[in-house]
Amino acid sequence: MISPITSISGKNNLAFRAKPEGESNEQINKEDELLDCGIVTKSKIAMDKFTKAFTIYPAKGLAGSKNSNFYEFLTMGTVPYIVGSVMLMSIFNSVNPSFLPFDKVAASRKLGNKMALGVLFYALFKEVSKLFITYPVKWKTGIDTELPYRKVNYLLKENESDDSTSIEYHKVGESVDFTRWDLLYAKPEDNKPLNYRYDKIAKKNGFGENLNDSDQEVKPIYKEVLIKSKLAKSISSFMWAATGVALAFQKPWENYFNVATLKFWKGREFAHSLKVFGQSFVDSAKSLYKGDPDAVTKIGKHSGKLVIGAAALTTVLGLLNTFHITKKPSNVTGQEMLNPNKESVVG
């Protein structure tokens, strides 16, 4: 069985350590549990998923396990992503060393290295740009669209020695159709009001305090925010990824490629390489924005601005749309609804 990551209550701190002899995991794995949304937990989840994507899940899949599921298939999506990135870099670089010096420089510095950097920046910009949506949405609405939870899967036995459970890491808002509302309620051991998480969101969005059923009022807007923020991320993150690639294709990076080294044990060279990386990043960003001075067409001159502008615009529009909540509960009070002075038909 797979050890779980620390839950939000901090009780089941068993992550990434060997299971002590005789200790049973049955207790900790019996139910799904919210996790804290700190960077450490997220990193551990990412590492866990990454490791399993390359090891356990493919093994289960190739064996045709009865317990393989959609989560595992989706998690395995990391494999083509990582391998594909390496392959793409390799296609443009691996043969270059056997070229003659002039061709080698042309193939590597002018294209291959930029392509490799483009692959890295694509992934980096895509992931980082999602934070441009996640955090403003969290600050403005109080809804954490990335809130993780640990899911316990009860498995079918395929062999006698099989474990009975497996752990998966999902997000509460992963599905807008089947959002895990249940996890947002307080547990008895939390010693907090049942709806305290919903209360907070309700208060943040101006629904007032001490609501009788804040959960019912919050759920529609929670879902709306999830949908709209997902739309914003889906479009803007890829536009930022495109900006990353465009940035990687700027000329100033060639200065970095000339001194680039990953040999961190060679202190001075490595430090110099980092310094040049920083300078090249700044110069490339400027170059992307200002455009090619030799460009003959207007579009050629301003294409960098357009790419950056498109990414920024999709982010801003996505955020504005997310903030524009339309599914707020009606402000009509019970008294107003049942106005004794008005005629009404009860069907």
């Binding site: 045709g64 594909g84 392959m87 003659l100 193939a107 807008v176 889906s234 460009a295 960098g304």
Partner: protein, 845 residues
């Protein structure tokens, strides 16, 4: 009751209920009847179906998908989308991002091919993402197991999903028993086992899961690789298509010349000129006005034409160089005087006493009738002003004899009328020459407006002509001529059939490439049949070039060459307009003087294309000549007579020099009469013929001497002439001639004749007094350069490098792709293995 209420509530309130009650619903289904049957409450019957689409359905499916995505987007914007819609939108985002990358890189690339490949790269990447699982996962699985592992289904809400997407939820009810049994038969599942359907389903599930896992494991390597290989495969057809498109586009420019010109809009330019002319109409012309007019008219003209125009404008607008004096000139005079005395410490009052006031200047000039007219000589004016100043200075010094600046004042007063620079106007004269006596009158304005209209028409025409010339013959990748070069080069080197080892060796260095090429040529030319085929291929290459550059042949008559006739009509037509308007310098730079001027813009329009074509053709005629000479030497035919009379040792030197010069020679080698270290004392007893075996000369003497025994023998006129004749003299070999069509043969012979004259001429040679056939040839280094073309060994060196690089890439990734495909296909045979259950004894019985 509780359960029933929930279901009732779901059925009546769920937004999907509308969908559910559609026509697709099972007709006999009655929800109330079903719900009232409390003993048998079961899930609602599925309204989904398996998707069975063929390739023909692709367009309609695509349209439906786009429609679905658009609706999904609208739902998501309103916050009403579902998971499936959001998943689709993520894919849309990925494609938009991909398009943004391709569009950005498109703007950064220079040539049509590199531009279009940004989108092809993107397209092939997405195509590879789709094709790999279809061709290497789905198809083999279907063929081997009979199971479609990428089966799609449409759920009750019309959403398309993968059938085996979630192995914990597979909608098996969409498959009928018959279908499952048929697949079971294909999977060799025994017919008489208990729960056969479940067993078959499990087997199908297992095969699908294993294949989906294999897809995830292989897609990372396969997708970029397949995309790159697809791009490689598309390179040639795309290059051919773009070449055709470029050629057509260029030809259309000439055919639709008038329409193309009409697309230009010079309204802004005309408006700007009008503003200048209107604002200054009737005023005296100043250099600033001329600047403004010239700036307006010269936009888009080359430097040479712009200069000619400027000279004409200066002459016409500033006229005979006469100036008028105005009040501002008088102030200018005072200003010049003041600045002269700046270096002297004088108070404002003192300065006012020294510098003549405006009235006194006017009176003095007027008294001598030097104020109202037009003047080009201001010597009288300066004398008068100088006198006024001298008087003032004298009076000032008389009143202030001990003034510290007394001596300096006298000196500065003299300096005012002399310029520090020889021939230049003094500061005083400069202040007088500011207002031209010429007026921008209606006649001049009319001429300028006519010129502007004609000038703009000329600019439009030359823009089209230049565009045509560039697209056809520009020194850039992917022009028609560059494509022709690549095509011809490819034909020739393909015909030579180099081995990968030879390519690997040749790509290292130009000299090694030379050795490999020479050896290959010697072996081809030694074999008459091989040579015959080879010459045919060179002829094919030259024929391709000839066809391609036909529209650029400036030796053709203007009636048969559209570009030439358009150049003539454009330049000569505008030249005539300029002549009528009196812009002679402009005209001179435009069309020159017929017959003698070769430096006009018109000549450049001809020479640009003619030179480019000549350089390219020469390179390939040189290659043909190289093959021809090697052939003659290989078979000792048409060379014996030439070598007759030389000792064998000299014959060997001569042949070696000719061979190496044609193979590697540059302009400089001809300029120094082929630098070669030879034996100054050859063996004069041996006059035997050279011996050739397998195309190679078996040297008896050449290369056998020590370094110190050989020297450069300068001024050996006879030797030089013989080498030239061996390379370019006489007729090509009959076996060469019979293999080439007449038009190419005639050009080839002409090339050889020119080469003999131009390279053999002595006028510009470092070592004078060398004559070829007693003739002196007048030529230039440029014409030699064009005739020389590219040296075959360098041509081969570059080609070998390209072949090696692309071969190396293809070898590595082609093998990797093949291995991956092999492993993926092979893996199918290990999938879906399950132990069959015990046969149903009862059934069997």
């Amino acid at each position: 009751m509780k359960t029933t209420n929930l279901i009732q509530s779901y059925v009546s309130s769920h937004p999907a209920s509308q969908q559910y009650h559609s026509d697709k619903a099972v007709r006999e289904f009655d929800v109330h009847k079903e719900l009232s049957n409390r003993t048998f409450i079961k899930p609602l019957p599925s309204n989904g179906k398996l998707v069975r689409k063929s390739l023909l359905d692709l367009p309609s499916e695509f349209r439906k998908d786009v429609h679905y995505d658009w609706k999904a987007f609208k739902h998501a914007v309103k916050g009403d989308a579902n998971d499936h819609e959001l998943g689709r939108l993520n894919d849309v985002g990925m494609k938009l991002g991909g398009l943004a990358i391709a569009a950005y890189l498109f703007t950064r690339k220079q040539t049509p091919m590199t531009k279009v490949f940004e989108f092809i790269g993107l397209g092939t990447f997405f195509a590879a993402m789709d094709f790999w699982p279809k061709l290497f996962i789905q198809l083999p699985a279907k063929l081997i197991h009979g199971v479609n592992v990428r089966q799609e289904y449409e759920d009750s809400f019309g959403r398309k999903k993968m059938f085996y997407q979630d192995h914990q939820f597979i909608p098996w009810d969409l498959y009928s028993d018959d279908e499952i049994n048929k697949i079971g038969d294909r999977l060799n599942v025994p017919k008489d086992i208990p729960n056969r359907r479940e067993f078959i389903q499990e087997k199908m599930r297992k095969i699908a899961l294993q294949n989906n896992t294999l897809w995830m494991l292989t897609a990372g390597v396969a997708t970029p690789l397949m995309s790159a290989l697809m791009c490689n495969a598309l390179e040639k057809p795309m290059a051919a298509y773009l070449d055709q498109r470029t050629t057509k586009k260029a030809n259309d420019l000439m055919t639709n010349f008038t329409q193309e010109i009409s697309k230009f809009d010079f309204t802004e330019n005309i408006k700007a000129l009008d503003e200048i002319l209107t604002a200054n109409s009737g005023k005296a012309v100043t250099p600033e006005i001329v600047d403004a007019i010239h700036h307006n008219l010269s936009q888009g003209l080359d430097y040479m034409l712009s200069e000619g125009l400027r000279r004409d404008l200066d002459r016409m607008l500033l006229g005979d160089g006469k100036f008028r004096l105005t009040d501002s000139n008088i102030e200018g005079i005072q200003g010049a005087l003041k600045s002269t005395f700046e270096t002297v410490a004088l108070s404002e009052d003192e300065l006012a006493r020294i510098i003549p006031n405006a009235d006194s200047i006017k009176q003095a000039l007027s008294a001598k009738s030097l104020l109202g007219g037009a003047y080009d000589d201001f010597s009288e004016h300066t004398k008068i002003i100088q006198d006024l100043l001298d008087n003032n200075v004298r009076e000032f010094l008389r009143a202030n004899p001990n003034h510290p600046a007394a001596r300096k004042l006298n000196f500065l007063a003299k300096q005012l009328v002399h310029s520090a620079e020889h021939g230049a106007d003094s500061p005083l004269v400069q202040s007088l020459k500011t207002t031209s006596a010429n007026i921008l009158d209606e006649n001049i304005i009319k001429v300028l407006r006519t010129l502007a209209n004609e000038n703009n028409s000329f600019k439009a025409k030359t823009f089209i002509l230049d565009k045509f010339a560039y697209m056809k013959a520009g020194q850039a990748p992917e022009t028609s001529l560059a494509n022709g070069w690549n095509e011809a080069e490819s034909i020739i080197f393909k015909a030579m059939n180099f081995t990968p080892e030879e390519i690997k060796k040749a790509r290292l260095d130009g000299e090694i490439a030379s050795e490999v090429l020479r050896s290959k040529l010697e072996s081809i030319t030694a074999d008459k049949t091989a040579y015959s085929k080879f010459v045919s291929e060179i002829e094919r290459a030259l024929s391709s070039i000839q066809g391609r550059v036909k529209s650029l042949d400036m030796t053709q008559d203007a009636n048969t060459n559209l570009y030439k006739s358009r150049v003539i009509s454009t330049y000569d037509g505008y030249g005539e307009v300029l002549r009528q308007l009196g812009f002679e310098s402009f005209r001179e730079n435009l069309v020159g003087f017929p017959g003698i001027a070769k430096t006009s813009s018109k000549e450049i329009a001809f020479d640009f294309v003619a030179d480019r074509v000549k350089g390219v053709k020469s390179s390939f005629y040189r290659f043909l000549n190289l093959a021809d000479m090697y052939y003659r030497i290989s078979h000792s035919e048409d060379v014996t007579q030439l070598l007759k009379g030389y000792p064998r040792e000299v014959k060997e030197e001569l042949v070696e020099l000719a061979k190496i010069t044609l193979l590697e020679g540059h302009n400089s080698d001809f300029a120094v009469k082929f630098w070669q270290r030879r034996n100054p004392s050859p063996n004069m007893d041996d006059y035997s013929d050279i011996v050739v075996q397998g195309g190679k000369v078996i040297n008896k003497y050449f290369g056998k001497h020590k370094e110190g025994e050989i020297v450069e023998l300068a001024n050996d006129n006879g030797f030089y002439q013989s080498v030239m004749k061996l390379m370019f003299g006489g007729e090509p070999h009959i076996d060469t001639r019979t293999r080439i069509q007449d038009s190419i043969l005639s050009e080839f012979q002409n090339y050889r004749r020119q080469a003999l004259e131009v390279f053999g001429g002595d006028k510009y040679f470092v070592k004078p007094s060398f004559l070829v056939d007693g003739k002196q040839v007048s030529t230039s280094s440029w014409s030699k350069f064009l005739l020389m073309g590219s040296s075959p060994n360098e041509m081969f060196f570059k080609r070998a490098n390209q072949s090696f690089n692309s071969g190396k890439w293809f070898s590595l990734f082609g093998k990797l792709g093949a291995a991956l495909a092999g492993v993926t296909l092979l893996a199918q045979f290990f999938f879906g293995r399950m132990k069959n259950p015990q046969k149903d004894q009862e059934v069997k019985a």
